[in-house]
Amino acid sequence: MISRIEKDHRRFREIVRGRIRKNLRRYVSRGDMISRKGKETVSIPMPQIDIPRFVHGDNKGQGVGQGEGDPGDPVGEGEGDSGQGQAGEGEGDKAVEVEVSLDELAQIMGEELELPRIEPRGSQSLETTKDRYVGLRTTGPESLRHFKATFKRALRRQVAMGTYDPDKPIIIPVREDRRYRSWKSEPRPQSNAVIIYMMDVSGSMGDEQKEIVRIESFWIDTWLRSQYKGLESRYIIHDATARQVEREVFFSTRESGGTMISSAYRKCAEIIEREFNPDNWNIYAFHFSDGDNWSVDDTGACIRLLRETLIPTCNQFGYGQVESPYGSGQFIKDLRSALPDDDKLITSEIKTKDDIMDSIREFLKGGR
């Protein structure tokens, strides 16, 4: 039987989930979620979960304390409960922080955006095996000898034989006492996926635009991570030239050059060719830019690259265009007219943070 508190607790979690779902748009468009990310969980502030009552407002800033000090001296932060807590008086002033695992968050997002599960491709053939040490056996290489088990056997034998002297507890294992670790190989079906993020960091992309890219890629990352174990990601930034960078750099760099999008696409194709065989990998590429390309020629080069290399190899190629005061926003139009009905290419315009949700839905609703 499930205990009563379990039921109440489950109910509470359900409510939390519901609240997150309801306010997902707001959480999504706010960047602070990402900074709250722990290893596996995110903690989300949830003010409304408190029960509203008629209470006093802003007087909590003062109170009575005890101890040394003169007027003007700071008093400690002192948020901790006094050593012994009594039940029931848990009404804090702060918003309740609820911890949600990233998986759960992705699930909530999937439900809310009605995202389909992704069907992995070509992955059944790709199996990795994983060795796990599970037991002991009597033979094996010396490097795997289990010390403790060996001496235990030896002790047992010596006690049984009567050669064990408690006053002089010397134990000498013999050949038969030795125990070795043994392992089992477990085949593990695995679907591999890689996301390649590309971002335009040319002069026209401001902080606001980059924030949008950052938030959007966090959510795409979260969703895809929930779909694939062992998701790889690569980051490319470009202005007139492209280079592969670390994640942190990706989000923080600001260059100021012209824009040649083809450089990024070329780099992307290069990475795919070098590291990720499209037969074994699910490849997702996302490119974010303000849509201001250097020349018509370069746009032509981009479209050629897309048509010939990138789109055939990728599960999906997403292009997100962030609105910026400087960009002309031409690129998205060029893409749309050049590749009108390729359903692997998805384009989306993100004007403000509020559009992030819709853009994510655009990108992920295909379920590819």
Binding site: H9, V55, Q62, G65, Q66, E77
Partner: protein
Amino acid sequence: MGPLPRHLAELQAEIEGYAKDYGLDLFTTVYEMVDYRQMCEIAAYEGFPVRYPHWRFGMEFDRMMKSQTYGLSKIYELVINTDPCYAYLLEGNSLVDQKLVISHVCGHCDFFKHNRFYSHTDRRMIDGMANHATRVRRHMDRQGVDAVEQFIDTCHSLDNLIDPWLPFRKPQPVRREPSIEMPINIGRLSAKRETESSERSYLDDYINPPEFIEQQRQRAEQEREQRRRIPPQPERDLLGFLLLHAPLEPWEADVLGIIREEAYYFLPQRQTKIMNEGWATYWHSKLMTTRALRDDELIDYAEAASGVTAMAPNQLNPYKIGVELYRNIEERWNKGKFGKQWDECDDRQARDEWDLHLNLGQSKIFEVRRLYNDVTFIDEFFTLEFCRQNRFFTFAENRRSGRYEIESREFRKIKDTLLQQLTNFGQPFIYVVEANYLNRGELLLAHRHEGVDLRLGYARDTLRNLERIWRRPVSILTVIDDKPKRIRYDGAEIAISDEPEAWKLT
């Protein structure tokens, strides 16, 4: 959950023996052994094994399990105000800790039994709570979990709107007397002596002055008008008022009644937090250090006990201030530091050396624990000397730096701040003023403003919840930023409007 192992049962008998020697008088106390998970569960249910199903308990549980798992806090003891008194011991605590807890519980138990503010509580609340749970479950089966749960949420939002003095008042007649429609008749004095037959009517104007008669008549009329109103006087027991006058479904009324009953049950514990914890701390300290403690347990005891009374600089620990006050009272009454002579003595040295060898300390603290609550306790015994001795101060947020800083060491200010925090346990005073406001069946509440505004966002949401129960627009009179205002919710939107003047309780 299990019965007490033998050695602990013996310990309980031993410690309760000491407690009786000192004059404590306990309910029979039943201890249960629980593991930390069960402890969190029971604590989430505020000490009871069974409560009605509600996510709020789940949330509490979540919080406690977390802080327990991360080692932020540990629930040592839990005891509930029932007869017999149930208390829980945490499995795996050291023997010293268990001793400490048992001694501490002795204090609580005695307090529950003898403090007058507990005299009206239902001592069989364990059954009461279980019955409430069954009833709520039955409503859930019939009405659906969501409907009932939402209604409970709504009720919780109002559950601090009760009248602390209600249990001590004569129950008000629910029905209005029919005599109300009798004609008003002001008694006139007669100037006629019984033996005389002649009417001395010329005296009539003197013994029944017409303006006085008129005044009386007007007052009677006003009173009648008043009585016709609902409520006749501003009333604080909003929950009870709603129960009587709101258009509730039978199941809603039942749920509201349950919430109200439980709110009244927990009320005395909130009124006597400092006194209750102080009393328990006083006694665990006394019982342990004078009788129960063995030599080799001293260090462990000292560590645990200091944890209990540890004080964060900007947080008042009720255990600490409580126990210090009792000790202070005991000392003062032992030495006779009270009364007119003491009050009028302003010779520092004489005061320091004051000792009349009265030895009234013990009987005084027993009297205090019987008659006082936190507010009266602090009001009467928080003296200048006590304040100085214990280095109290007030702190406030420095708006510039965002830090909390010591504000003042002025006695008056400290005491006022303390009392303000405790009065009505820090809750605002809210009254039901009229049920037929504007002659439109609107409910009018009023906030007795004592210097602190209501938290506006919460007030709005609470009004929304109240409207759900009252089903007509609801308003509250309050003061925002020194300006009298009325917040009204009409089922669609919140409106805040100016009022000519602040509401006052007449």
